[in-house]
Symmetry: C2
Subunit: 294 residues, 2 copies
């Protein structure tokens, strides 16, 4: 779908809720390139980058009260959520505001028992009730969006395309159940599905199956990552980076296919360099909305 | 569906193709209880039990030629396949017979690229073309079939039932894609899906997620194992045993639900004893054929 993205309009300062990994840093740098001065909410036990170059506060993941204090103090009008969260909040983590308490039952239920997408949707609705606009990271950093077609030198061959088709079908089924975004197919057959463990752990599992001789040496295979059906695009686009390429290589895969326009390629230059160095393809798929719906 | 199973009728000697684990031994013992004198085809690199008490040959997994020689020599009229196979045959493993060669293209394609169910269906068809009847292990050992309702002292509570519902929905989706049979749900949410790695490896993954603090301590969760839609019942019923109960306990789960009448409970006495000792439920579900079809 490769949507044309224009810079978002909002009043006040931009806030970035930063989880794990380098993605929030890329978004913060892109925000500076757009002449924003972002304020960073670095999530405790999650954010793992150096934020000393930015205005930043460390914040418990459920500490809505401290969060709203800073939002008001800094005049924050829009928020971007970026980076992974490995641990979901428990009831003891949540220090609600009064407004949150009023709408607590359904929001809390989603936070405590929903899939990722339900949680992120609940968080987004809660912020918007507080008058804070929620933007997608791709609105601040559109260059991070995956494009259609191959990124590096290699293209999927016929056998790769059969694997892409099988893994895509599985990833669509997974997404419909709000479970995960990724699947690995080898020799035309899906052999691994991503749950809570995440893409890198799934790739490590595939590497283990290969080391144990449970995948034939000649069949390489592909990783497919898709957006979930009806996914909250502002919160949780599937992402790949150079580590994904390296881990896919270790798993003996032939390449990676992601959804064009609805996924993120982090550190694109290094992704391309690693893909070319290791001989993997990385390609963007047009997955028709109709396919998600069937 | 708890079908009433009557002892199967066939001419000649019974053969058991034995893969990994104790399941083939249980089937062989049940066959003796029915006054059969089974001949054991112990698959090389797979069969791991002591077969010295039986007439047995070690056989490469693709060695149809040696297999058919024995079938003729021993006058074998029916075969049961029992036990896991961790490695799928590659093209180099297959030593075909002339009859197999005549029907090779589609059978080989299934063997080399299909899901488990396709492979087993192809193997079954190949044997039947050679005049060998293929029986389900449950026809020889009907006491191994899971029944409806709880096996031990515990029953699923309301929270367990929500997990069972979520994991059942996912297992049905998995089965429809011929991927796997198992899913784990915790707190109403599916967190792990079984691929090629198998149930025990999936449970180890859940134990790891819990050790890493990525599952809240209070949510226990359930394992659900179902038959795939249209599964070849003679070849590959989902099975649990005492190890499954112990591994589910290590993963912090509340219990296990399997499909009544279409799954195997190996070492039932020990399964019940372990479930009671560890405080887990083990229960048989009626999964309507209609649910598989939707």
């Amino acid at each position: 779908m490769n949507a044309v993205v224009s810079a978002p309009v909002f009043k006040g300062r931009l806030g970035i809720v930063a989880g794990r990994g380098s993605f929030p840093v890329l978004v913060a740098q892109a925000a500076r390139d757009l002449a924003h001065n972002p304020y960073i909410f670095a999530l405790k036990d999650e954010a793992d980058q150096d934020w000393s170059d930015f205005d930043a506060a460390n914040l418990g993941i459920g500490d809505l009260s401290a969060f709203m204090q800073i939002v008001r103090r800094e005049g924050i009008g829009a928020i971007v959520m970026a980076g992974g969260i490995s641990r979901r909040p428990g009831i003891g983590d949540i220090r609600p505001t009064w407004t949150a308490l009023k709408s607590a039952p359904q929001a809390l239920r989603a936070l405590l028992s929903g899939g990722d997408d339900k949680i992120l949707r609940a968080a987004t609705e809660m912020l918007e009730r507080h008058g804070v606009q929620v933007l997608g990271a791709h609105e601040i950093a559109p260059d991070l969006l995956g494009q259609c077609g191959p990124l590096g030198n290699r293209r999927p061959d016929q056998s790769d395309r059969a694997d892409i088709a099988a893994a895509t079908q599985a990833a669509i089924a997974l997404g419909r159940l709000d479970i995960g975004q990724g699947a690995v197919a080898v020799g035309g057959r899906v052999i691994a599905l991503e749950g809570l463990e995440g893409t890198d752990a799934m790739l490590a599992r595939v590497a283990g199956l290969r080391a144990d001789g449970r995948l034939r040496a000649k069949s390489r295979g592909v990783l497919v990552k898709l957006c979930k059906q009806g996914q909250e695009l502002r919160a949780d686009l599937p992402a790949i980076g150079p580590d994904t390429v390296r881990n896919a290589h270790t798993a003996g895969l032939s390449g990676i296919a992601i959804e064009a326009g609805r996924s993120l390629v982090l550190q694109r230059g290094e992704v391309i360099a690693e893909a070319n160095r290791l001989g993997l393809f990385v390609t963007g798929l047009e997955v028709a909305a109709a396919e998600h719906a069937t």
